[in-house]
Amino acid sequence: MSGIVTYGSYIPRYRIKPDEIARVWGENPEHIKNGIYILSKSVPAPDEDVATISVEAARNALKRKKIDPKEIGAIYVGSESHPYAVKPTATIVGSAIGVDFSLFAADYEFACKAGTAGMQNVKAMVDAGMIKYGLAIGADTSQGAPGDALEYSASAGGTAFVIGKDDTIAEINSTLSVASDTPDFWRREGQPYPSHGERFTGEPAYFRHVVTAAKMMMERMETQPKDYDYVVFHQPNGKFPTRAAKMLGFEEKQYKDGLLTPYIGNTYSGSMMTGLSSILDVSKPGDHILAVSFGSGAGSDAFDITVTDRIEEMDRNRAPTIKKMLENVRWVDYAIYAKYKKKIIVGDGIE
């Protein structure tokens, strides 16, 4: 069986609070904080994008376990904010970590679940014997139009998993997906900001796919919520994943360690994977994890995972843990945020 051999995450250091965004747009910050339960979100530096975040996450994974990059036979990067419309992020990552010329590589896009689709892809390739190790990354520098509700949540970050058969720290016991054509969220070609289909966001999109995928996985594995030590869902805000958890019968102690959106916002393709990374930071041998992503448009990928004894052999502090990245922050105001995110357009000669 295959599973996670090593993992690494990267969250940009800058943060903005909803109070600051609400101040500019004349909203009530308490209404925002209570409504979507986001207390701060990460902001990428002006010289950061999905390629830089992906490389940092991949390097953090390789710091935790010294595997030869030339044994990584596939790289798939899931994102909805790849720096190029045409030219893969995966090859930039491959070059930056020093992989071999013989390489399966591609970029994926499926809103917020493109990274977990990559995990499934490389797991299948490992299981089929096509590659020894595969690198799956979910990363985003997500977009939210100025003044739009998404501006409070759209953030930046990413996580990389190396998947293989040997020395796994966490076995992926099973994975499954659900998908349907649902108009909850989209961004048309060439448009800088996404649109959302109001009422489609909740029940027909997020809850239908996430809850169904979770139930299907528990049926397949013949498990119940009480059989899991941890559960992590895609986190578009702080409210949806907790509601999904409660609908399924999970308790706070099972989802609190993987719930990061209240502190870093929605990292889109990096969201569930970074939550899982946070769980792996603290998990013990034998821990049983249910992880379910969600991508608008819409679909969910579910994973049933068991942490192995080898996690104790890994020095998880060789790379920054999620806890450390939550502590090491620099606050910015809306003006700096707008400058960094290029919401302020400057004339020729200035930039």
Binding site: R13, E48, T52, V55, I92, S95, V346
Partner: protein
């Protein structure tokens, strides 16, 4: 910019801090060299690729207030001389900090960042910068 082939040729070194080590005297060079400037002909065929760890110490630095256009969103920014763990001295930007936090002797580590882009339609150039430990 517009020097596509040059950036492509140097990208492996810039992405991975890939230098060379003279197997004759042990000195490490970055950017890589074909011949060791100390050992000269003795080093021919003995220059081996070496990926630097990215760990270093600030030897000196300056704060740039009058920035070139592509750094206008980052000014004032810090440019430093970094003495790398393996020996070479590298010039690089220190990111994600206030200039007042930067001091000679502080430890830094390399990070992967955008170095620039050729307008709205051209290629994006990536490479190393540094962040305080």
């Amino acid at each position: 910019m517009g020097q596509l082939s040059r950036f492509w040729r140097e990208s492996e070194h810039r992405y991975r801090l890939l230098g060379t080590r003279c197997e004759n005297c042990g000195r490490v060079y970055f950017p890589p060299r074909e011949v060791c400037p100390t050992c000269h002909r003795e080093s021919i065929g003995k220059m081996k690729d070496l990926e630097l760890s990215g760990e270093g110490v600030i030897e000196s630095f300056t704060v740039v207030h009058e920035a070139p256009p592509r750094f206008s969103r980052q000014k004032p920014y810090v440019l430093a001389l970094i003495k790398m763990e393996e020996g070479p001295m590298i010039t690089g930007q220190i990111v994600d900090c206030d200039p007042s936090e930067v001091e000679i002797g502080k430890h830094v580590h390399a990070v992967f960042r955008r170095m620039g882009e050729d307008g709205d339609t051209g290629v994006i150039v990536y490479g190393y910068k540094f962040a305080l430990d």
